[in-house]
Subunit: 776 residues, 2 copies
């Protein structure tokens, strides 16, 4: 069964308009709340002079990096803006709106990233200061409210953008929002890749020279890479993750609105997808507000409690909203009739209760979020069996640590992917045989999952903030005793929240990508009807999984995910090599560093990280944008559909594998550092440090960047689908033009990869390179 | 467009019968040639007494392992035989024939594995003896002829089985051959998994204690695991690879015959797919015969030359055969009319030249083989840039070695997969819009690729034989000076041939799996027509890549490949742990071992390996067989199609990634051992040893086992498709029965995984376990 958009005109009734206005107000409330939380954070004491000095250096480095990154990305954005203008759309208004929305999406994504970084760098020292005074609760509150600010900005700006576009463009809003989502996703992907390379190059480089060679502890001020390491936490984990979750939020909204109008027409198609996230805003405010540890309670438990309470409230409210807003009989739907696409059968109204289905879909999304939170915790937590098994293999050396971590990652990917698969199958059955309704329910489940995003962002930001607080405390030497203990506890909690929110980010990405994939179908159906009229049968062959075109597309889609991951990992390896040689050089040329009589040149390392990560982000970025163009125009829309499916499937599995292997290694190291299997300084410890280093680019560079990657590729496909169909079946059909476009895209990809390969001087070459950097 | 089997009765004309008889004779010639090569090998001198003693111990261990393995697998085979009998088929004769053919397929697969192992263990000492006398050419000839014997047996038995079944069952042959292929694939998969675990558990265990802890060289007789390590080479690399390639051969033939009858009907459908491999037999004899190194020439160059010459001859001969046997006008085809499945359009004859298309398809297959040989060599050879880059990262320690190796593996997977994708797309366009013809051409390309199999098996077997020869020489201490140098050279060549043939094995597997996937479509089309009559439109929706069912299937299919890989890697880690503790125990309890006054108990380590690998092979095996059953009966034929597609795509990428990462690490270690970056004994060397150890289960356990895995799953799907359709759409449709079957399958999988998890005492627990083994 396949969608037919029976209703040609979707508009906004007065009642609907009022709903959207209310949503808009809620979005503004979120922004105000974010402002309130921010003031609360900034009101705290920034700490001793030395702490402020270190914190200031981190802030400066992070601002400098993001500034340069935005200038680089500005060029990309301008190019993309004009390419978007060139793509066909229903009318000029939509085309302009879409391109402008693109800029807004990109700008919002960038702003949230910047805000996250900026506030986190201010909060770091404040958390350290609170700990210095032994005030654990204040420290925890500052860290969590910092995340709360970012979380509110994420949901506020996302909802604001979507609601505004719906108010202005009404029935055309979904088309315009494609631009908004694309801007958000593209920027987020670049920030994920660039920030991910920065943070892990600094981290790996610092560890390799500091911990392994010089035998000095983490965050030791004698290590020239420590400031860069802290900067990295802020530009990677804070700015990158915030932009990523904003992008997930925006893109899911876009997909829900596209599929909503196709499935529900005027019966809530434009409003219901906004109501669910609006509920999420309210529950997120609740969640951030109620997060406070009871007397002596573990911080993680308090955070988890807020998560589950706010998720529960959101579920109940969403169910009520569904029954209030949506019809309970499919025959009331103006917008949905299903016609057997393949059967050539007659149009028929699907026998399903939309209100019930939608309510169930949202609840499935929320339950999925909770379950995945638990599952990721199981595979990566310090208490859990898999992580402890990995820690135990340290007794037989680094090789077995690496192998067992890979084993855990592969396995955890299976359980997570199968869970998501089961959820999608359940959502499919809710659709009662209507493909478009099923796909809409998938999008709604994504919205449900995203009701938790406010709290998730807060949890996630908690990680780098407490990590940095500890770093600043360590470097300043101003915090000890109880204060240091508090910071260690907060850091451990932050590690866990950071790991488990990755699971949520992936689940969100899968649902969003699947929904976008459905939107791609909708785009094709419409474009095909425009191009060939009603007798579209022959077009559909290429979408069969059996068709070699689809299969070839899948192979290429899967391969692109592998290439992207490989490029990201290689970039970190390369950049880390440069850091290693720079730090070694400083130790050699400034012998006073080791006995504290000389200060290392922190800024130089920050510079190298900045330069390298900006240079490295182009290749994976170009690959993500141009690969679907090459496949789509070159091999057709069927191959492109296969491509998207292959990328989603391989992307999910790889993202979870990379994230959870990395998480397990990280905590295996912590287990050994806590005194098990010999504890710090033993061979077992060295083995787990190696495992952790391998895991660094897995979990913080390649893995998380796959989330925006699969969405960017789906959005590109969605945007170019009408053009491909037009050039294949329409009046202006022209194989040479199609192939010409494909060829240009291919050339761009090959050139980008070749350029990146030519940088492929491996780590061993870096002495000369470090030399070059020094002279310049 | 989709296939309709217009010709209901495919038979064998007298002319066709004659062709098949000639093919049969060629198959017998291959077997005779194998016998001749074997005598030649055995005629060589078996070497000194001490070499014979060591060789004898290896042979004994290998025979004992395979014997026990076959007894274990016998149970599986009997169960599978009865399950097969229970599955519906056209008539009872086909059903019985198929089940009997299953037993033959399994028996042939096992025999070839046994033969390969048996002859290799005899050849090892003979190669060492030839080297002892400084006769490099003789050593090389013995090693290559050993492989030649196995190669001839592979192609001889494969062709013999297929030709016999065609002669006996004629039009029903494809159905019966499904059993043959399934038997071959199932046995091969178990042998791959079991042998792979054995060989790598022994290898990793031996290295971890010997090289890393005790600081003694590889193959040192003081290491209790050395004999087990050599046994492993024979049961894993020889027996496993031989069975795997036999299985690829058989399965490709089966798919080509199924699709051939569907596409060509009586116009060569049953004969042409036999002619191409028959040509391959002749050129393989040529290839093995002409392999001799010219004066002082590198052995690898000589082997490569034979490969390219025999491939070239095969290509020319195949093109001639195509034009002689096949019609050059599609309208002459009795068997092919294409009906727009989705369009509901009228049947139409496809405008394509079958002879030209078939000739091109075979040539594409052969060219693909040659290209992949080169590509794999590029990514894993000691001379090539990527491997040298990995070696160079050893300067910054094991973590960067592991990361860069993973980067190389990911990237190489991309190029190989994209190459295969391009080949498939080219084959698709040859089909001129007929899906069934396209798929037949894919199968033919597989046949083309397989014309090189005789030489490929010979090349591959060269690896373990020369490796073992060196091991025996080292342990006996009887070979030194020039002899030792010859063996080192042969071993290095063997490492490369072993690595590059893996690429071919994977490419074969992809084409075979894609062709089987096409056969699955054919099976569904027929079953659906039987069940619902001609109006089948509504059935096809679930096969659209967009359909959530297909997408869910893909996710699960990809996940199963990850789980399978994870299980295999974990099994090696676990088993290696047991070896480590056993060897440590022997060193501790027999202090005389280190000064050669006491002999280690080699047999005990062989015992542990045998026991553990037999125990470990069940879980991945059950997963491969029961996962498609659970998905197919539980979620339907559309989800099962998605499942197969997901498994193929993820399987290809993972198989190449694992194989090439492993190959790159292996040779990076060799580069350092050759004196680069500090050479043996430095930290850089230790770093590459760790990389190599991580790569061991990648390249020799998990990676290669994926090849038979994806074929076994496709064959299971092919066999159960009619039953699923019957229970879904037929007269006997029954959801409870379907779900009941799915549930049983699911329970089997979960139970198998849980049992394997309960063994998941990680390596650190092994002391107690080793103790238990000692007492028992």
């Amino acid at each position: 069964m396949t969608p037919v958009r029976a209703v040609t005109e979707v508009t906004l009734s007065s009642a609907d308009t009022s709903i959207v206005v209310v949503v808009l107000c809620i979005a503004l409330v979120a922004l105000v709340m974010g402002f309130v939380y921010r003031r609360e954070v900034l009101a705290a004491s920034p700490g001793t002079e030395s702490m402020q000095e270190i914190g200031g250096a981190v802030q400066e480095g992070a601002s400098a990096y993001l500034g340069r990154q935005f200038r680089t990305l500005g060029i990309f954005a301008v190019v993309a803006f004009f390419l978007l203008m060139a793509l066909p759309a229903d009318d000029l208004g939509v085309r302009i709106g879409r391109s402008v929305a693109f800029l807004f999406g990109a700008a919002f994504s960038a702003s949230i990233g910047y805000l996250g970084m900026n506030l986190a760098t201010a909060a770091n020292m404040r958390v350290a200061e609170a700990a210095r005074h032994g005030d654990r609760d204040a420290g925890m509150r500052i860290a969590f409210r910092t995340g709360g600010t970012v979380g509110m900005a994420t949901v506020g700006l996302g909802l604001l953008g979507a609601a505004l576009v719906v108010l202005i463009y009404r029935g055309d809003a979904p088309k315009v929002l494609e631009g908004f989502g694309f801007g958000a996703a593209l920027l987020a992907m670049f920030m994920r890749v660039g920030g991910g390379i920065f943070t892990k190059a600094a981290d790996v480089g610092a560890d390799l020279v500091g911990k392994v060679e010089a035998g000095i502890p983490e965050d030791d001020p004698r290590n020239a890479a420590t400031i860069a390491d802290n900067v990295g936490d802020n530009v990677g984990d804070c700015a990158g993750m915030a932009a990523d979750l904003f992008e997930s939020y925006a893109v899911t909204l876009v997909a829900a609105l596209i599929l909503g109008t196709a499935a529900l027409g005027n019966e809530g198609g434009l409003t219901f997808p906004l109501i669910i996230p609006a509920i999420g805003v309210v529950t997120a405010i609740l969640g951030v507000y109620i997060t406070r540890a009871r007397n002596g309670e573990n911080a993680l438990r308090a955070i988890n409690r807020s998560f589950y309470i706010s998720a529960g409230v959101a579920a109940v409210a969403s169910v009520i909203a569904a029954f209030v807003v949506l019809p309970d009989d499919a025959s009331q739907l103006g917008g949905i009739t299903d016609e057997g696409l393949l059967a050539g059968g007659a149009a028929s109204v699907v026998d399903v209760n939309p209100a019930l289905g939608a309510a169930a879909a949202v609840v499935i999304g929320i339950v999925l979020a909770a379950f995945i939170l638990w599952l990721t915790g199981y595979f990566t937590g310090t208490e859990s069996k898999p992580t402890n098994d990995v820690a135990r293999t340290s007794l037989t050396g680094p090789a077995t640590v690496v192998l067992s971590g890979i084993g855990v990652g592969l396995e955890s990917a299976v359980y997570t992917a199968v869970t998501i698969a089961i959820a999608i199958f359940a959502l499919f059955t809710l659709g009662g045989g209507s493909l478009i309704l099923s796909l809409f329910f998938v999008a709604l489940a994504g919205c449900g999952l995203l009701t938790t995003v406010g709290v998730i962002v807060a949890m996630d930001t908690f990680g780098p903030v407490s990590d940095n607080a500890q770093g600043i405390a360590e470097m300043s030497g101003d915090v000890d005793g109880e204060g240091a203990q508090i910071l260690t506890e907060l850091d451990a909690v932050g590690n866990t929240t950071k790991a488990i929110t990755k699971g949520i980010a992936i689940a969100t990405a899968v649902l969003a990508a699947t929904a976008l994939f459905g939107s791609y179908l909708d785009a094709i159906v419409q474009a095909v009807r425009t191009a060939v009229g009603d007798d579209t049968g022959a077009v559909w062959d290429q979408f069969l999984v059996f068709d070699p075109r689809a299969l070839v597309g899948m192979l290429i889609g899967g391969a692109v995910v592998f290439l992207f991951s490989g490029l990201a990992i290689n970039a970190v390896t390369r950049a880390a090599g440069a850091i290693v040689f720079e730090v070694r050089r400083q130790f050699r040329e400034k012998p006073g560093i080791m006995d504290y009589t000389e200060k290392p040149e922190y800024a130089r390392v920050v510079d190298i990280c900045t330069r390298d990560s900006l240079r490295e982000l182009a290749t994976p970025g170009l690959l993500a944008v141009f690969a679907p163009i090459a496949v789509g125009f070159g091999l057709g829309v069927g191959a492109l559909a296969g491509y998207l499916a292959g990328a989603i499937v391989t992307g999910v599995l790889m993202a979870i594998f990379l994230a959870n292997s990395g998480g397990a290694w990280d905590n295996a190291k912590k287990i050994v550092e806590d005194g098990h299997y010999g504890g710090k300084g033993t061979d077992a410890h060295a083995a787990t440090v190696i495992g952790d280093t391998v895991g660094d680019p897995f979990k913080d560079t390649a893995g998380p960047a796959i989330n925006p990657l699969i969405k960017v590729m789906n959005l590109v496909a969605l945007l170019i689908a009408p053009a491909i169909i037009g050039l294949t079946y329409g009046d202006g059909a022209s194989a040479p033009i199609r192939w010409g476009i494909a060829l240009v895209a291919l050339v761009v990809i090959v050139a980008a990869v070749v350029v990146s390969k030519r940088r492929d001087i491996a780590i061993g070459d870096a002495p000369e390179r470090a030399g070059v950097l020094t002279e310049s």
